[in-house]
Amino acid sequence: MTAVIEVNSLTKRYRDTIAADNVSFTIEKDTIYGLLGRNGAGKTTVMSILTAQNFATSGDVRVFGEHPYENSKVLSRLCFVRESQKYPDDATPAHAFRIARLFYPNWDQDFAERLIDDFQLPLKTRIKKLSRGQLSAVGVIIGLASRAEITFFDEPYLGLDAVARQIFYDRLLEDYARHPRTIILSSHLIDEVSNLLEHVIVIDRGRILIDDSTEALRGAAATIVGDAAAVDAFTAGREVIHREALGRVASVTVLGELTADDLARLTDAGLDVGPVSLQQLIVRLTQAAGGAAAEDATASREPSLDIESATLDKEAQR
């Protein structure tokens, strides 16, 4: 494997907030990555620094082995689809695509036109007048048709309905199969994208919480359900990341793959084993990390984050 991005001890500070805290990771060539984490976790900050649209406070970032800042040799091979991309007031999608065609050396005009059809995007309407979903479609089309060697999609689906999102995922997979390249996709809809991803990086409060292959994470945890005493006996000594109880029934999520012996023990004890989806795993681990950080007296959390954490809890319970 060849690394196309190397990040070493990257830190980004905005006055008293730390958006990236001593972050290190590598991105391998021709792989689809998921960059996941909650709002304000630092995903966009990291992507902006990698694409030279923001400066690191300290640390080292290499893209194709070089520093990206004002380095046209590097930047011409990158495409960054921002969630809040700004366009000139009187620009239309047609203008945006014409500029993209000039800018990206691998631009595929036929593919772009097919995508415009797929998303039923009006070309002559001013971008300012487009709906949120149509605006997202402009970014998605540029990101896909540019076929840049590294493409960053920062929550590209905002306002896209379920059908349009499926079109995006399908076209992404199809085109990636034909023209392998590095894709970094940041998303909240983890369940929706988990099967597309080969590798997952989870950022939480500016730090890397998970950096692992999706395949390894799929069996990384299990939920044991049944009589509370039996569940607790089984989970004793294991790494418990979540526990809830209803009367005498407990449901406990533990890390670590279950062996055949474990499974036999569970059957004998009359306990049920449930799978843990990538989304559940990330929610649980983020919460567990959050709990640990809250105990840490130095950690201060903004009130707005607590509202989100309540929403995440609700989603997790569904």
């Binding site: 792989t31 689809i32 995922y169 399908d170 997979l173 199809e174 990636y176 199969a177 034909r178 099967n195 597309l196 991803l197 080969e198 999706t214 395949e215 799929r218 069996g219 299990a222 059957t267 009359g270 449930g274 799978p275 843990v276 989806s277």
Partner: protein, 136 residues
Amino acid sequence: MIEEGRALFLQIAESVEDSIVDGSLPEEAKAPSTNELAAFYRINPATAAKGIAMLTDKGVLYKRRGIGMFVAAGARELLLTERRTAFAARYLDPLLAEARKIGLDADDLGRLLAERASRLDGSATDAATLTEGTAR
């Protein structure tokens, strides 16, 4: 179709094995390509490739250079043997565990099994007579 919590590449490999076992993918036929599997199951092509690689290692598929992957001779027999070996652990153990929970013993199970089997055979014969009838 895809289950949570179980390695995806295993599930992809099993789906190909299913087609070989039920005969819809005969020996020496061309197996679906990595990209076809990826598009069909909407999964990362690297995952699909891992599933295919597993089947190649097992001797179920083999590669013809520049053409693609094909079902090996003897693949069906190999898979049948493997599945028969795994049958008890995979199906009987959970069955027995649930039966014990609701107070059925092995004899009860035996009776139930015979009863169900004769009913299934009966309906299969009915279906056969029916199709014959319409054909006539």
